[in-house]
Structure formats: structure tokens, C-alpha cells
Symmetry: C3
Subunit: 426 residues, 3 copies
């Protein structure tokens, strides 16, 4: 995962343009089933219109002394996203109105965009900005805002191994330039999850996985697929900020009461223990769209350090040093366990009345092999399997991880002592 992040890091992504396509093609190399899709600029989607495609070739400032500053080719954060073309000579005073820096983080280049209001600008470290000499500056941005362009995204469907399966939805974004936790951690962890899902022998759910530009991409995707998603999706996660090692966190759905919320919290409690539980008021990524009224998809977020909640966020300091193989693995593990739990969270009904005579089934303590479920777990899973108490709810009462109890449930089902009840309704 970290190597893929390294490969993707330098690409100058935005919500449209060649950087997104290049990123998607690399992801497709990893998961060939990924379908690359696009919609033309100007397409209406709910309250929005797909903007022109932004083509950025070069950008820099030439100082009065001839020094070349804020070079896009050195760091793609130097140019304000969606800057219109400019090529002119202006005074330092006029230039200042187009510069962005962070006085409190004097060495970091901030990340600034202006997708829907035409302007241009440069981002640079506050230290560099403060050392600019007076005089006239040459500013050059070689960009095009192409009304005949397009917005690109990737969609991957991993079908269930059973018929008429509901769907689990995973979404991640591919629209930030060179940033690591708040960009690349999402797609690389999601690609790893997709590979793992593809090789599973059984899937109770179909998995729909999208790699989209944030906000406008989510809105485009929803505008084209809403009826299907509302009918099919029973759980989902927005995969964002899953790459550093500092913490784990969770952001709920609008009402915090979906199976996605329950599973996310269960996994965090049993796998991590200590984590940050945010409010829906702290939302900021595509969960905003997925949880909008009328959209109502059960999409929660499992994260490491959340967007907006760490100092390097949206600066050049959110780089490959901030994330790590261990950080990405932690994010992957959490999401993988959540999917494992969703698959395992069946509702069973005991097939015999009263406790069964376990010895008849070779399940009595004396017959137990190492690694077999504990007889107590077997009896407790049986005791609560009344056709309306899900395995997740049983796990809660037993204060055990669902993924452990699933073994007991499988053992009992194999012995014919449990039968599965109709599929989970959220």
C-alpha cells in the first residue's frame, strides 16, 4: 500500500483533468476490473453543474531579481487549484492579493482551490513569502479551463456469490494533488480491500467501490445511480484519512443508527479500544452527500487522524512522511474487520427446543480441540439465537468480538443446530 502511495504521490490531481485519469489508470493496473467512467463538463447533477476540465501545464513566479519562485513543477501545491491562465507583470503589492501562506506554519505550503469562482493564485511557505523583495514580478500560469472537458471516476463492482444480494458501498476520493493522509491513504487502502474482497470464496454482499473526485464526484455519481443505491445498499464506508499512526476515529451517519455505525463502533471497541468518536457535525468529506436527506445512504467513516483534525492537513506537510506502512495497515485492518463483521452478522434461530445435548454433536467440552469454539460460547450463541437477535447483538451481550463468535455460530450451523433467518434489515 505504501509503495502505491509513493507512486501516486507526485501526480497533479484536481477534481478533473489528466492527473485524475493517470491516477485511475494506475489503480486499474492493480484491479483490472475497475471501470473508468466520465461525464462531460456542463452536465447537470442535482443542484450542481460539472465544471470545465482544468488543464494545468506550468505555473511559476519570476522575482525582480530573476529568481523563479512557487514553481508548479517543483510542487504541485504551489498553484491554486482551478487557477485561470495568467501571464503578466505586477507589483509585489498586487501580487500579495493572489498569494496564500500560513503564518502559523511558516514552512508549509497550503492547499488552496477555487473550483467555482474564477481567479488565480499561488501558494507558498510563509517564510518565503516574507522574504519577497519589492519590485515587479512576472506571474505565469499556463492553464486551460476546458468547457469541452470531462470529469473522470472509477467504479468497481465485486459481485456477491449468492443471488439477489444487497450491496455494500465503499467510496474514496482521487482529487487532491500531492497529499498523503488526506488523499492517497484512501485509494491505496481501498484498492487493497478490493483485492482481498475479490479473492474471498464467498460473499454475501455485492461490493460497489468508487474512486471519485470529492463532493462534485460524489454528487455526479449519486445523480446517476441514486435509485439503485437507495434500493440496494445496506451498509457503506467513506474511506478517507486512513494512513497515519496517531489515532483511530469514527464519524457516524446522519442519525448514527445504521448497521454501518454499529459495526464500526463494535470493531473499534474490540480492536482498538481507545478511539475518537466524532459527531456528524464534524463531517467534511463525501459522507456529507451520502447522508444528505433524500439520499440517506448508510455511509459512516472509519479513519485514523481525521481531515481537519491534524496540523498537516491541507498543507505540503501532509506528505509521505506522515503516513506509514503500519498506519495504512491499521486503517486497512479496521475496514477489513468491519466487512468481515458485516458478512458474519447473520441472524439465526435455534433448530431444537431447549438446550441440545451437545455430546450428540461432538461439541461437549471433552471433545474440544484447540481453536474450537468454547462450549460456553456455543451455548450462549444458541441461547440468544431466537430469530430476531443478530450475531452483532449477541456479541454485544457477550462482550466479545463478533468475528470470534462467528466461529461458534458456524460450528453450530454446521451441526444443524442453527438455521439462518431472512437477511438482515437495517
Amino acid at each position: 500500500m505504501y509503495a502505491l502511495a509513493e507512486e501516486l504521490f507526485p501526480i497533479p490531481r484536481s477534481i478533473t483533468g489528466e492527473g485524475v485519469r493517470q491516477t485511475l489508470r494506475i489503480l486499474q493496473r492493480e484491479v483490472p476490473e475497475l471501470a473508468l467512467k466520465s461525464v462531460p463538463s456542463g452536465t447537470k447533477c442535482f443542484d450542481w453543474t460539472v465544471p470545465p476540465e482544468w488543464i494545468i501545464r506550468d505555473a511559476y513566479i519570476v522575482a525582480p531579481d530573476g529568481a523563479k519562485l512557487a514553481q508548479f513543477k517543483r510542487h504541485n501545491l504551489h498553484v491554486v487549484g482551478y487557477s485561470e491562465p495568467v501571464d503578466r507583470r505586477i507589483s509585489l503589492a498586487d501580487l500579495q492579493a493572489h498569494l496564500h501562506s500560513l503564518p502559523e506554519q511558516p514552512d508549509a505550503i497550503p492547499y488552496v482551490t477555487s473550483y467555482y469562482k474564477r481567479t488565480w493564485g499561488f501558494c507558498l511557505s510563509d517564510r518565503e513569502r516574507n522574504s519577497l523583495p519589492g519590485g515587479d514580478y512576472q506571474v505565469k500560469i499556463d492553464s486551460v479551463l476546458d468547457e469541452a472537458g470531462q470529469l473522470d471516476y472509477g467504479e468497481l463492482v465485486i459481485p456477491a456469490t449468492v443471488a439477489d444480494a444487497p450491496e455494500i458501498f465503499l467510496s474514496t476520493y482521487v482529487c487532491h494533488p500531492s497529499m498523503a493522509n488526506n488523499e492517497l491513504s484512501g485509494p491505496v487502502v481501498t484498492v487493497a480491500l478490493a483485492k482481498w474482497l475479490q479473492q474471498l470464496p464467498e460473499r454475501r454482499f455485492t461490493y460497489r467501490v468508487v474512486f471519485i473526485p470529492e463532493t462534485i464526484g460524489a454528487i455526479v455519481y449519486l445523480s446517476q445511480n441514486l435509485d439503485h443505491l437507495k434500493q440496494a445498499v445496506v451498509a457503506g464506508f467513506n474511506v478517507s484519512c486512513v494512513g497515519d499512526e496517531r489515532t483511530y476515529s469514527y464519524l457516524p451517519t446522519r442519525h448514527g443508527d445504521t448497521i454501518s455505525d454499529q459495526i464500526a463502533q463494535h470493531v473499534l471497541q474490540h480492536k482498538v479500544g481507545d478511539y475518537v468518536c466524532y459527531s456528524f457535525l464534524d463531517r467534511g468529506s463525501d459522507e456529507r452527500q451520502y447522508n444528505a436527506p433524500g439520499v440517506d445512504l448508510p455511509v459512516a467513516s472509519l479513519m485514523r487522524s481525521k481531515f481537519g483534525a491534524y496540523p498537516e492537513y491541507h498543507t505540503s506537510d501532509d506528505n509521505l512522511d506522515l503516513i506509514s506502512p503500519g498506519g495504512l495497515q491499521g486503517g486497512f485492518d479496521l475496514l477489513q474487520l468491519s466487512l468481515i463483521c458485516l458478512e458474519a452478522n447473520r441472524t439465526y434461530r435455534a433448530t431444537v427446543l431447549c438446550e441440545p445435548q451437545l455430546s450428540k454433536y461432538g461439541l461437549y467440552p471433552t471433545a474440544r480441540k484447540k481453536g474450537d469454539p468454547k462450549p460456553k460460547d456455543l451455548l450462549n450463541v444458541l441461547a440468544y439465537s431466537d430469530g430476531r437477535t443478530s450475531l452483532l447483538e449477541i456479541a454485544r451481550r457477550l462482550e466479545q468480538p463478533l468475528w470470534q463468535l462467528a466461529k461458534a455460530a458456524n460450528t453450530l450451523a454446521s451441526a444443524g443446530l442453527l438455521e439462518e433467518c431472512p437477511p438482515m434489515e437495517n
Copy 2:
């Protein structure tokens, strides 16, 4: 409000009689739409019968030394309410059985009534009682218990500005003689609320406001209007003890789960913070009748120092010094805010799917003028407006006062981004 209380203070009110009528006429002067109504003595109302009208002209005791004591004309608390007429000479020992005083509050005259058991009596300070010389006393009560009398009350209907509106019910009582917090604070604050309600350009609810004698008046009113009230009333407050400055308090409805309870607590939390939350077991005023089984009106109480919970209660010390313009204003503000919240507590549905592009509506941060709702509030109100989450519930989640969020909701509704859903059902 305080001046009106001063004017009303000396009037000798009881549950019937000229004092009530005189009080109602003064209130009618303030709010000419107030309708004065009456029912004859002897009228059956549920388990009760309207008692004879009590006409009290004078009352006093003449001591053996000729001193005139416990003079009704000096303080109308000196005579036990509903005393039958008496004019005779008795020993001090016999008189004692008809005297009421408070050993623990030796300077206060207690308030005593005997509406349904025929007797007579005098109230005086314990200090005065203890100084009574031995000998024979002349006792004189010039009263009539008029079986052909009536019970009076006032009813004010302030219609909604829309058709088919549900009602909000306000009740206060006019039956105690010269007492201030536990009597006059109620009608003077209620009159001020009525004046404010009358001049509102829009009212989503009809307001039904009654000025009645406590207990028997409420029972009379309910017996004559129950079917209508049960069908129409969605919220209500009993207005009592709203005049001092010592505290704020709340007494819930029978089950504590009505919109009146929710609004009352919301206002107290955001406006006052620190207040006394009573139990329905602490009830004592007309909320007893409004919340009786089968009556089931959603009537809660917002108070300052609650009846029975302050030492001056039901004594001559509950006088104009106990209440104050500031105390009355605090009571008024609480009830006014509650009515504002009830009016504002609509349920909305977002009209566009996903977040709207706020800049299209001039609502983006850069376009914000001082006093405009915060963009974050706009987005949060939108995010929860799913047609089933009321503005009160949204306010709870945002931990903000509903009256603040109402501005954001109005702005969004004006921009066409929210539409109102069918009226609140409690």
C-alpha cells in the same frame, strides 16, 4: 406588569365574588378582547358542584379592651376565605379554635380558606395572637354565601393567521386575595404575553388564554370545553408564580414527554442554564386538572419560585416586595421564548438532493453580512432536514437555541432550499 400588579393587589379575590369580577374587568381594560364569562352556583362539573358565591363586606374582632383586630378592611387575608357570617360574643378560648397563625413566621398573616366545609375564622400574625388578653371578644363577619350567585372567569382567543390551526393553551388564576408571586404574577405576565401575541404579524397557532379561579375554575372550564380542547390543543402552560427573582423552575406534564415539556426544558437550558426541575409529584396548581387521566392536555409549568417552595408562600409576606419588574420580566421572557420556539419548531425537508451549491443563492461565506446565519448552521439545518427531524431536534443536536436556528431555517426556506412538512404532531 409591576404597575398592573400594584393596581390589582388590594382587591379581595376569592374563587367567586365581586373581587374576581373587578380583577377581570381591569384585565379586560388591558386586553379588550377578553370575554367575561360565568356559570351559576350549583352547576355540576365532573365530580364537583360550583359553590355559592361568597360575598364579603367586612370582618373584624373586637377585643375585651375595645381594640379592633384582624380587620378585613386593613388586610383581606385576615378573614378565612368562604367564612360564613358570624356576629357574636365569645371567650378567648372559644375564639382560639377559629384563629390561624404561623408560629414559625410570627409576623406573617397566613392565607386560609374553607371553600367546601362551612366554618368561619380569622388569620393573624402569631405575635398578635399571643398578645391577646383574656376575656370576651366580639367577632363579626359580614358575609353572604349566595346560592344564587355565580363563578366568573375570563377567556381570550387570539386566532392564528392561518386556517385550521391547532391551539396553544395558556391558563392562569385569579382567585387569591392580596398575594403577589402566587397570584398576581400569573395574570399580569399572561396579559403581557397576550398583548405581544396579538400584535404578531403571523401566528401558526390559535392561542386560548384563560383567567380562572384555581381548581374549581379549571374544572368548570374543562367540563364545558373538554372535547374541543382535546382535539385542538397541542401545547400549553399553566402560568403561576412567575414574579420573583430567586430562581427558575419547571414542572412537567404527567408523563413529561409532550412538546410543552421539550420546549420548556430547551428554553430553560439555553436561556437560564441553572434551574429547578420538579417532578409531576410536586404538582399543585391547575396542571393537576389539565394533566388528569382522560383530560390529558399537554400543559407544563414554567415558573420562578414555585408554589409551596418559598417561605412567604400563602402568607401576607407574598406581597409586592417579593416580586419585582425584573422578576416578572424574567418570567415573561421564558414564556415568550417558549411560544416563539413553538411557532418556530417546524419540520422541514431539503428541496435539493445532496448539498446545494450555496454560492448560487448568495449564501456562501464570502457573501455573508453581519447578523446573517452562519454557513455552518445553514448546512447543518439542511443536513438534518429530512422531513422527520423537527427544528427542535436539530437544535438539540447542534446544542444551539432553536430561536437562533430558526433564522437559518427561514433563510433557507426563503431561498427555496427547504420546504415545510405537515404540521407538528405531538
Copy 3:
């Protein structure tokens, strides 16, 4: 109760056999209406089969020196329950595989059974075991496993004094040999409850009381009566471990939400205050069967020191010294109060609208005699009697014991101010 326990103590009970029959006959002497029933060995009951009847006549070991050890006739715990017959000479080493003792309780004889796996064995104190000299031992168990035998139990039905009454179910077990808290406390307290129930002038419920061998007896009984029980039983208790003085405890039903749970906790809170609240995960007696999915009987447990939670459990130290008349009385009182509460827990509706004029009914404070319900309780019971709030729920709100409030409710019902609503649905 203690005397009956003394009489029953020496009898060698098991899940079948003469010891159970002898025990049931003594209980029948106390309650002649107790019906003795049986099912043949080999009967199928759900997942189980009734085992052969175990006839045990004698058992002992003869040491190399001729000493007679582990004599069944001295203590019936010395032989492993359901031991097959044996009569042979074996070395100490081979004997050890058939011996059971408790190193941590060196003076106690443990209680061991092997109902469904054929074997034989002896139980003895660890001290005795460690002093066994080397050499050959004669082991003798004079037992029969009679395939043509039977399983016995007792059933007592105490009918309601009204027609079409739902049932309350009490279950206790009679299958342990000489043990006191975890055996005899159950039947002797249950017999005392039955006697008390029989002499009640009115019973709103029919009481079904069973004395059965644990587990297999409960399964047999359920397999023969399940349809009736599921339709009729609204509450129930498993009566076990109610004889010592150390603590009080409660073990809930599967979901902990039945009226049995509510009543049990109410009684414990108001009668005992400090008690141990177990989880359903701590179950271990016949509540396992009664609460199994598909059985779903509302059977909770009120206990003193719970099975498995005291050191003497399942050893010879659980003897007549462990229980006491006071301990048994405490267990009896708790269950009796629970049944009193179940009988009293009606739901009422006030017959008059608004508060009644209490003086008309002689219920006004001035008319109160010592022991009469307090006027405040009368008014509070009236105020909550809305046809949907049970007396138990009212008791909770008033923080008073239901058995106290029942007096107020009865007074009001006698005065015609309350009418009972349709019977409690759980």
C-alpha cells in the same frame, strides 16, 4: 421449612429413582394436591432421551488393610451419580482414575455425576484420598441402570378464583442428593409458597408449580406442556438456592424485559436494597430451558447465594449448617412479595375526569384513620391511572413499594374512583 429440609436431607436423590419418589411423597404429604407423574425411560423429549432409571443400593471401597472407605451409606455423595455397577479388585493407581476430590477444599466431598456417559466413580475428601495406602482395593457399586425405569416429577395446580386466568409458573428441582442450599431450599420454600397460595381468598392467576429433576426434568415437562405454557404463562420464577443468609440475588430472563424481571427487581430494591444482579450469561439452572429460543417463558430467578457463586456449592459442605430458618424465610419473603406484587399489579383508569372531590368519599385528610392510605398517595395513584400505566409503573415513579400503593388503589377502587382495565399483557 427448615424441619422439612432436615427430613429430606438424607434421601439419596438423583434425576431418577426411588430417592426422587420418596422426596415427592413427602412433599405430597405437605400439599396433598401435588400430583405425582412419570415418564418411561427412553421417552424422546426434544433433543434428549429420558435415561434409564438409576437404582443405587450400596457403594464402597475396601482398602488393602480392610478399611471400608467412601461408603454410600454414610454419605450419598461418595458415589458418582449414575455410576454403573462394579465389583472388582484394582490397584490404587487404577482406582485414582475413578476418584474425585477437591485439593482446594481438602475436607469436602465433591458432588459428581455422569448421567449420559457410562462410567463409575467415587467422591471423597482430598485429605482422605491423599492418605490412601498403596496396594489393591476392592471397589463395589451395587447399582442398576434400568432401561425399563422412569423419571418422576410432581405438578401442582392452584387455580385462580376467577375464570380464564393466565398462569404464573414456579419451578424447583428435586434431583440432588444430600445438599441444602442448592437443592432442598428450593422445594421447601416452594412448598411453603404453595400452602400460602392455596389459602388466599382471591387469586387473579392460576399457579402452576412443578418439582422436577433439573435439566432433563424441565425438558421433559416442557416437551409435554409447551403449547399450554406458552399460551398461559405470564410470569414465573425458578426457585433455587434460597436458603442461606449471605446475600440476595437476581438472574434475569433472556432479554431481561419481562414482568417477572420487573417485579423481581422492584421487590429486591424496596425489600432488600443491596443485592447481586447477575446477567443471563450467569445462568445455570432450569432458567436455561425456560428461556430457550422458542420456549420463551418469562422465568426469572430470585435467589440468596447463587449456584456456583459460593464455595460450598456442589460439595458436602452445602449442608444443613449452610442454610437456616432465617435464610429460608428471607427467600420465601422475596418470592411471596413478588407474587403479591404480580397479583396487585393491575392497571386502572380513573372514573371521574379531573381530580375528584375527595371529601365526598370520606377520603379527605381530616377523615383519615391510622393505617389508611395517605391522601397524597391516593391523589398520585389517581393522577397516573390513565388506563395504560400499571401500578408497578406508578410505584416506580412514586419510588414506593407496589405492595404499599396497592392499598391506595384498593381504597380508590372501593370508592368507585378507579376501574380496572383489561388484564396485564406482558
